[in-house]
């Protein structure tokens, strides 16, 4: 039980960072020479979870490989707006799962399950 809460907490923080990167890319959509940022926490989280000895998950900030426009900027507004929506839904889903876990704990300790 504790493990799931920890994993969810880590994932919520990771998605929040992805959301910040997306917001930052959209804020710099017309900054000449700006390189879009991407945040990856899923790869290392998956590795940490699948490794029998455990491991430490980490967040990596990488440069988006999208091709650059003539002003050297490579922010794709459409992709970023879709990402923003996706990250919001992921965030909400994980918050729902966290709440479900807490309801289970509450029910198991004599409180209400709902």
């Amino acid at each position: 039980m504790d493990g799931i809460v920890n994993v969810l907490q880590y994932a919520v923080d990771g998605v929040a960072q992805q959301q910040q990167a997306t917001a930052n890319n959209l804020a710099n959509v017309d900054t000449p020479g700006y390189t879009a940022q991407a945040v990856d926490f899923e790869t290392s989280l998956q590795q940490a979870l699948s490794s029998p000895s455990g491991g430490t998950a980490s967040v990596a900030v990488t440069a988006d490989p999208t091709a650059r426009a003539s002003d050297g900027n490579n922010v794709d507004t459409g992709t970023q707006l879709v990402d923003a929506q996706k990250e919001t839904l992921q965030y909400q889903t994980m918050v729902d799962m966290l709440n479900a876990q807490f309801r289970l704990i509450s029910g198991a300790t004599g409180g209400s399950f709902s």
Partner: protein, 134 residues
Amino acid sequence: MSLFGSLDISGSGIDASQAWLNTTAGNIANMNDVTSTDKSAYGVQTPVFTPIGVAGQVGAGVTVSGIQEGDTTGIVQFDPSSPVADAQGNVRVPDVQLGAQMVEMIQAQTDYQANTASFADAKTAYQSALTIGT
């Protein structure tokens, strides 16, 4: 990064777009300026956007680090009826391209909308975070 970082970042993007809308409006408003040929013309203004943040970390938004002024040479036109015309009947007018300014205005507007959309998404996510444990 502050607690509601994404909101600050989108806010900085909205401010930058607003600055850009302002410069295009100023450029269009001044496109019919007339000056005498011994003075410089109105120079097209363009905001300079600079990303905020530390390398290797998620950035912290954008800032307008200055307003760049374009060429003040302008265009010399023959207009002897103008009160500021020189002995040859010439005046100086700014080199503002209305088409280019309109395109920039639409770009600035689209940027503004994209930033408000991302602001709304971040707000929704943060609101859901406030329900944890309730």
